[in-house]
C-alpha cells in the first residue's frame, strides 16, 4: 500500500503555506510538527481529550478552537488558522505578546508549560467570542469554566490559569457588561 498524498494549501499565521504533498490520513498535528516544524501545538493524547494540540480556525463567523490531533490536515485546505507561534507579533527582533499571554505570565499560570499553548489558544478564542457577544460581569467565572474545562493541565490545578483568564476578561474593555 503506497501512501496516497494530495497537495495541501492553506494559510497559517497569516502566511500562505503550500502546496505541499501531504498523506491523505495525516492528522494536522503531525503536519504542523513534521512538515512545518511548528511544534508549539503540543501532542498530549492523540485522541482529542486533553486539548494541548488546539489551533484557531478563522472563519467568516469568527474563530474557533480545533483539536489538531484528531482533525486531518486536509480538512484545513484553503482555510486560515493561527497557531500559538503566530499569536505574538514580531516587529524586528521585538516580540509583543498578547494580553492573554501576558496575563498567564503575570499570574504564574503554568509550571512545566506543555499544555500552555492550548490554554493560550482556548482563552484567545474565548476573548474573541466575548468581543462580539459580551457577557454580564457576574457570569465571568462560569463562562471561563465552561470554555476552559476542556483543557487538561497536570501541573497547576488550574487555579492560576482561570484567575488569569478572568482577570483579562474583566480588564479588557468591551468584553463584559454590567450585571
Amino acid at each position: 500500500m503506497t501512501i496516497p498524498t494530495r497537495p495541501l494549501s492553506l494559510t497559517i499565521n497569516g502566511k500562505a503555506v503550500g502546496p505541499i504533498d501531504v498523506p491523505d490520513g495525516l492528522m494536522m498535528v503531525d503536519f504542523l510538527h513534521e512538515y512545518l516544524n511548528l511544534t508549539g501545538s503540543r501532542f498530549g493524547c492523540g485522541i482529542g481529550v486533553c486539548h494541548a494540540c488546539t489551533v484557531i480556525l478563522d472563519g467568516p463567523d469568527g474563530s474557533e478552537e480545533i483539536r489538531s490531533c484528531i482533525t486531518g490536515a486536509h480538512f484545513f485546505a484553503g482555510k486560515s488558522i493561527r497557531t500559538v507561534e503566530g499569536l505574538a507579533s514580531r516587529q524586528g527582533g521585538v516580540i509583543a505578546i498578547t494580553p492573554v499571554q501576558q496575563s498567564y505570565l503575570d499570574h504564574y499560570s503554568f509550571q512545566c508549560g506543555y499544555c500552555t499553548p492550548g490554554f493560550v489558544v482556548g482563552a484567545t478564542v474565548l476573548l474573541e467570542r466575548l468581543a462580539c457577544a459580551p457577557i454580564p460581569r457576574s457570569r465571568v467565572e462560569s463562562v471561563v469554566s465552561e470554555a476552559m474545562e476542556r483543557h487538561i493541565c497536570r501541573c497547576t490545578g488550574y487555579v492560576r490559569y482561570y484567575e488569569a483568564v478572568k482577570d483579562t476578561i474583566l480588564s479588557t474593555p468591551g468584553l463584559t457588561v454590567e450585571g
Binding site: 500500500m1 503506497t2 501512501i3 498524498t5 498523506p23 490520513g25 495525516l26 503531525d30 510538527h33 513534521e34 516544524n37 511544534t39 508549539g40 501545538s41 503540543r42 501532542f43 498530549g44 493524547c45 492523540g46 485522541i47 481529550v49 486533553c50 494541548a52 497557531t83 500559538v84 507561534e85 499569536l87 505574538a88 516580540i95 505578546i97 499571554q101 498567564y104 505570565l105 503575570d106 499570574h107 504564574y108 503554568f110 509550571q111 512545566c112 508549560g113 506543555y114 499544555c115 500552555t116 499553548p117 493560550v120 467565572e141 469554566s145 476552559m148 474545562e149 487538561i152 493541565c153 497536570r154 501541573c155 497547576t156 490545578g157 488550574y158 487555579v159 492560576r160 482561570y162
Partner: protein
Amino acid sequence: MGRHVHSRARQAAGAASAADDVSLSRRGFLKAATIAGVTVWIAPLGSPAHAALFEDRNLTAPDWRASGAFTRYRIDGRAKVTGAKVFARDIRAVDMPGWPPRQSHAMFLRATRADRPYQGFDLGLLGPDLQPDRVVTAEDLARDGVAFPAFYGDDMLLPAGKVPAYLGHAVAMLIFHDFARYRYARDRLQFDPDVVRYGKPAAVPDREPWGIFRYVRIGGATPYDDDAYSSLKDSPLFPTEKKTPVWPRISAEDSVDSRGMRAAGQIARELDSPPDHWLVLERRYRTQSVDTAALEPDNANCWYDPRDQALHMVLATQSPQEVAGEAARMVAASRFPLRRLFIHPCYTVGYGSKDHCNVPYYGLAAALYGEGRPVRFAVDRYEHFQTALKRHSFDMRYRIAVDKRSGLFQSFRGDLVGNAGGRANFSPSVAMVAATAAQSVYYFPKNDFIATAAATRAVDAGSARGYGTLQSMAATEMMVDEIAALLGLDPIELRLRNVLKSGMKNTQGAIPAGAVRADEVMARARRHPLWIARAKKKAEFDAAHPDRSYGVGFGCVQKDFGTGGEAAFVRIELGPDGRLVLHHTGVEIGTGTSTSQAVMCAGWFGRPADEVRTAVIDWPELPMVGEADTYTILQEEQDRLAADPMWTPVHASPSSASNSVYFFGHATRETARVVFEHGLWPAAMDIWSRGIGGGQAASYVVRREDARWVEGRLTANGMQPLPLDALAARAHEKGYVTAAVGHTFNRWQWAQADFAVGGQTVRRPLDGLAVRHGKGPGYDIIRRANVFYPPAQRNNAGVTYYSANAALVELAVHLSSGKVELLSHHSIMECGNQVVPQLVSGQLQGGVAMGIGHALHEYLPLYEDGPGNGTWNFNRYHLPRASDVAVWNQSGEILPPLSETDPPKGIAEVVMIPVVAAIVNGIAHAIGHRFTELPVTADKIQEVLGA
C-alpha cells in the same frame, strides 16, 4: 535510609580524568569528564554552548522590581507562553546544527502477555510499502554488546523463547527513515494482537522481591530519652531469605540483629495480648497503580555519527547527570566505537516518571542502529501509559495500639507491600521510604515496619511524586480518624495529643531537623470555620439537599524532602558590569527552580541573577571525583576516600525528592556567600575606606554581619549605599573574588570543611570550592581542610527534613450517583521562608489536584487489563479537570516562618498528600462509611449506599 537502588548506577564523576584539561571548543561546548574512555560534552538547550549552535532566546532575565527580591514572572515564562521549543519533544533533527536534517523515527513492538514465552513477530500486515528500514532484536543487541546499564536490569529487548518479565516488555525496535511510513505503520501495528507471537502458556515462577526491609524501634521512657533499639542507633533489619522472608534468628549472643528481633517479638506479643486499657485496631489499606501522566510523553532524539564516533542525545530527563555517565559506559561496552558524547538536556516534566527512566537508553540504541541518521523515539499516549514509570500500588496492613484513657498511641506495626512491577528501578527504596513515613505526624513509642518491594509482571513502577509516602501516610490519616471516632474524640484533638514535637524521635530513631510545626498547622485547622461548623453545616445542608450528603474531612502529614544523598554544583559569576550569571545542576521540571535559584542570589547580591543555566552537568573548574555508593559505604571506607580533597560521595542529584529549594538552594546561597565575603565585602570596604584618614568608614564601626541590601544597594552601619555594578567593578579591578564554584553534600546533615581564601580560613557547609579572582583567567581550586562528612550511620536515620501540610475538605456525596462533589478545600502548610510565593502556591494548587485524582478518579488495572496492554489513554484514565478541584473555591495559607532566617523547605510532594485522607475522611463524615481502598469511585459509593 533514603532513596537509592541496590544495583547502583554509578555517578558521572569520571575518576580517572580529574586532571584532564578543560577547554572550550570553537562551538562553545564545555568538555566534561571522560568516562569509560569517552569524552562527554554537555550543552543544555538554552545554554551559551547551545546558543552558539543556533539562535536561542529561551531564557530571559528575570524582570523584577528593586523594591523587593521578587520577580514579575518566571524566567522561562516567555518561551513557554509563546510555544517556543523548550521540550525535547519539540526538537527535530533539523533544529540541531550539525545534524543531518532528515529525521528518522523508532517505535517498539511490545509483549502484551506475560504468561507465555515470546516467539517472534510478524510484520506481514504492513505490506511491502510500510516495512521498517531497520529491525533490531535481542539477537542484534547481544551480538553488538548493547545492554542496559545495570540499574535497569536485563533484556532491554526480550530474546525469543523467554517469558516477558512484565506486560509491555519490548521485543523489537523498528526504525523508519521517513515520518509518513512510520506513522502509518504504527497505526497498523498498534492494538493488533497478532503481530507479536507467543508459545504455549508456561508456569511463571514467583520472583524474589526486589527488596525487603524492617524498621524496629523501642523508645526510651520518654520521647526524648535514648531509644532502647532503633534503626539509627542500632540497625535496620534485613531478611536472610527474601521470597518467604526469614528474619535473623534471636540468638543468645547480643548481636544487633538479635536485639532487633527481640524488640520485634516484644512488640508483637503486646499487640497480640494487649493490656485492657489498650485499643488495638487492625486495618488493611490498598492503593491503586497510577500513572503520573506528565503531559510531555516520553521521548528522546539521538544521532550516532559513526564517522566521527560521536553520539548526540536530546533528552527529556530529570537525571541528566546519570544519563551522561551511563550512556558513555553503555556505548563504550559495545562494539560501536565512541569518542565523544554530546548531551542536550531540555526542560521537561515528569513528577518522577522521568527520573532514572530507561527511555534515554532506548533512544540511544535507536541511534546506534540508525545507520548514521538521527532517530527520534517519541511514544504516543497509549505507549506512554504502556511503559512510563508508574506509582506503586501498595497493600498495607496496619495495627495501631492506643491507650484508651489518654488517647496516646502506644505501638504501630505495619506490613507494607509495594507492587514494583517487572523491573526494580527505585522500588526497594520506595518501599523503604513508605515504611519510614507511615508514622505521619505522630510520635509512636514503639514500631515495627516491614517494607517489601514485590516483583511482578506489572508495568515498572518507579520514583513517582510522593515516593511511597502518599500511599502510607494517607492510610495512617484515615486510620487515625477512625481511632478518634472509636474513642469518641475530636479527630484533630486526638492528633494533637499525639503530634510529634521538636526534639522527639521518628520511627527510625532520628530527630527531625529543626522545629516540627505540625502542631501549629493542626491548631490552625481546628480553629477554621470549616471544622468548627461542620456538624451544624451538615444538618443544614442535608436538610436543604435531600439528594446529597455533606461531609468535612481533615488530614495532616509531614513529608521528608531530600534523599539522604543530596549533592549539587553551583557556579556564580559576577561580571565587571555587575551582571550575575548562575549555573546549577537542577533541572527545570516545571517547579520554577530556574527562577527560585536566581531569586536566592538576591540575598547576597541585592538582586536576582540575570541569567540562569539549569541541568549543567559539566564542572571543569571544580573536577570533583568519586564513585561510592553513598547509601552503603562503610565508615572506614568513607574516611579513607575523604582524605582526597577532591573526593565526594555524590556528584549531583537528579531533580526529584522535592529537593531543589532547600538542597540546591543551599548550594546556591553558600556559593553566593563566598563571592560576597571574599569579593563584594572587601570591595565595599575598599570604597568606604577610600580617602584621607580612612574615608567614611573610619569613624564608624563597620561589620560584615551588619551589611544589608536596600533597594539594590549595599550598606552597613550607616555607610553610603553602593550599587552592585560599582562593587563588581572594584572587585574585578582589585582582583577580589568575582566568581565561585561550590559543591555540597548532604546525608541528613551537611558536609563541611575549612576553606582558606585571601588569607582567611572559613568553615563552610561545602565539600568543594573553587574561586576566580578578578577577571581570572580560570578558577583556583581551594583545597579543603578538616573535612567533615556526615557519618555513614546517618543513612539509617531514614529521613530528617520535613515540611508539614494539612487539608480541610468540604464535600457533598450525591446519593443517587455516588459522585463526590468537592465544594471547597483549604490547605495549611509550613515550609519555612518562601522564595517565590507564587511558585509555592502553584505547587500547592497543583499538588492538591493530583491528590484529588488519586483519591477519587485515577485507576489502572495492574495486569492484563491494565496499560501494559497498550490500550489506555485519557478517555479511560480520568485526570482531574478544573471542575473536579473546586477551582474557584479553594484557599491555602502558609505559616509565617519562625524568623527571616528559616531556610526554605521542600514541598513539591507533601502538597498532594493530606487531601487524599481528608477526602476519604470527609466521605466518612458524609455517609458513615470508611473506605480503605483507593480510588473511591462513584461505583464503590453506590455499592455502599445501596447496601
